[in-house]
């Protein structure tokens, strides 16, 4: 598997690795993927009173492309409003990182992670966000 330079850069120097206190009021947490599939992403956003994402952190179990995709989105969501963050598309991630077709699922997972984090934040604040589930849990693998 050969990776693009951008994937390698994010993989070797991942941005914003870490965790926020899950229960803090300004924090939204999204956890998507499953160990059975070989990747799990945890993406957290810290939202200020104006509804702007001022910080983001991630932890990812997965291949290099999964790590790079999550690292990239933590950079992208910073400074965005919740609605703007919701409009980030996996195709933008895949394009930026030049992901090969077999790795597109990594970018989908990263998009799902943002949506899950935003939904978690909205739910905490009674903003009408429904609990976001990316997909059904895996059955027989």
């Amino acid at each position: 598997m050969s990776y693009s330079e951008k994937v390698l850069d994010h993989y070797e120097n991942p941005r914003n690795v870490g965790s926020f206190e899950k229960d803090a009021s300004g924090v939204g947490t999204g956890m998507v993927g499953a160990p059975a599939c070989g990747d799990v992403m945890k993406l957290q956003i810290k939202v200020n009173e104006q509804g702007i994402i001022e910080d983001a952190k991630f932890k990812t179990y997965g291949c290099g492309s999964a790590i790079a995709s999550s690292s990239l989105v933590t950079e992208w969501v910073k400074g965005k409003s919740l609605d703007e963050a919701m409009h980030l598309k996996n195709t933008q991630i895949a394009e930026e990182l030049a992901l090969p077709p077999v790795k597109i699922h990594c970018s989908i997972l990263a998009e799902d992670a943002i949506k899950a984090a935003v939904a978690d934040y909205k739910q905490k604040h009674g903003l009408g966000g429904e609990e976001y589930t990316a997909c059904n849990p895996p059955k027989e693998h």
């Binding site: 990776y3 690795v17 965790s19 956890m31 160990p35 059975a36 070989g38």
Partner: protein
């Protein structure tokens, strides 16, 4: 300073030993004759070289040279043995037995025979990767014509009890095929004693060239095969095609070197492998896959829990190793061999296969251990599963949202 990348993937393939390469070269240039040419000295010289090499291959496994048939490699040998025997003996029955942890060259051949109307039993293995002999015995039916079991597993390096399974097959009148691609030169093979009817070999796994292999076909009691490759009737009609003299010479020399050196070499490799094992065993949550006793000296297959295999391979790019995680495939299925051991998905996705060989050095192992310590730590800092494990969360109770 060690030279990187360090090759630790000897079960994938090996470099051709320089002594082997040297012996091959004249057969590409001056001694280029066709071994089937009977009318001049070019052909005679080539034929002599081919027969000498046949003798060397036979000698390593204590067989008669007449029982060795040249093929293009172990994949072809497996195809010829299984399809050839199944087709020839289909009047007797259409049931075959194999194992879930076999190489694809055996499993896919069996799938093809199923499409042709044969029935195949795929035996499971125990948690240590070994076959339960009672289960093996119980799988044999009156219409079973052949059982196929690998000597040494390519992923986890475990050694199956071939002598015992041979006895069972012989007593039940079932042909026994053994894929020994990963075994030749690594474990003692005595076909004078083993009740094995067909055995597959490869050259490139033991410091010979790629593209050449052999199939042992027992003469007493005689085993018949239906040819899969038709043509000039080479190799007593079992495998037509002009013999690649230089490749055959290389395989012969590789097998000769193995016969002379395997015992001292195995001890050295085992010492290095044990050093690697010891070196990583102080990392938390490291699990060896497969039995540690019934295992070839050069193999260490371990799962570094909570770290995904492919990202680990990226992190340790100074080491040429392979992973049981198949995140590159669309299905995202981890290794079917590790799944057959009952490993859960996380562990299967977290596995790395290190295979050591003739040119591995102690410095390389020291370097590998140091690098692994560093990178496992870094990746676990990045792993949400590791974080949850450290928080005392049982990952089996988590409802995962898959994509």
């Amino acid at each position: 300073m060690v030279k990187t990348p360090i090759y630790l993937d000897y079960s994938a393939t090996t470099p051709v030993d320089p002594r082997v390469a040297e012996k091959m070269i004249p057969y590409l240039t001056e001694l280029f004759g066709n071994p089937a040419s009977r009318s001049h000295s070019f052909g005679w010289a080539a034929e002599k070289a081919v027969e000498e090499a046949r003798g060397e291959v036979a000698a390593l496994v204590n067989a008669d040279p007449k029982e060795i048939v040249w093929t293009s490699g172990a994949t072809e040998s497996n195809n010829l043995a299984i399809k050839g025997a199944a087709h020839f003996y289909q009047g007797k029955g259409k049931h075959l037995i194999t194992v879930k942890t076999e190489h694809k060259a055996v499993l896919d051949t069996c799938r093809e025979l199923e499409r042709q109307g044969f029935e195949v039993t795929y035996l499971g293995v125990k948690e240590n990767g070994l076959i339960d002999l009672d289960e093996f015995k119980a799988a044999i039916r009156p219409d079973t014509v052949l059982a196929s079991v690998m000597f040494v597993n390519n992923e986890i390096g475990v050694i199956q009890d071939i002598p015992a399974m041979g006895e069972i097959c012989r007593s039940k009148g079932v042909l026994f095929h053994v894929d020994a691609a990963q075994a030749a030169g690594k474990v003692d093979i005595d076909l004078g004693k083993l009740k094995v009817d067909l055995m597959s070999f490869s050259a490139h796994k033991i410091y010979g060239p790629k593209g050449i292999g052999a199939l042992y076909v027992r003469r007493k009691p005689r085993v018949r095969l239906e040819a899969q490759m038709h043509g000039g009737g080479h190799e007593r009609g079992m495998r037509s095609g002009t013999l690649p003299t230089h490749q055959i010479v290389g395989m012969g020399e590789a097998f000769r070197l193995a016969r002379e050196e395997m015992h001292t070499e195995t001890e050295r490799i085992r010492m290095l492998r044990d050093k690697l094992h010891k070196g990583v065993s102080d990392i938390e949550e490291v699990h060896v896959n497969g039995d540690m006793e019934a295992r070839i000296a050069g193999n260490l297959n371990v799962s570094f829990n909570f770290v995904e295999g492919e990202s680990l391979i990226m992190a340790i790019k100074d080491l040429a190793v392979s992973s049981g995680s198949a995140c590159t495939s669309a299905s995202l299925e981890p290794s079917y061999v590790l799944k057959a051991l009952g490993r859960n998905d996380e562990l299967a996705h977290s596995s790395i296969r290190f295979t050591l060989g003739r040119f591995s050095t102690e410095e390389e192992i020291d370097y590998a251990v140091k690098l692994l310590h560093e990178k496992i730590g870094k990746l676990r800092e990045m792993s949400p599963l590791w974080e949850m494990y450290k928080d005392g969360i049982d990952l089996d109770t988590v409802q995962w949202a898959a994509h």
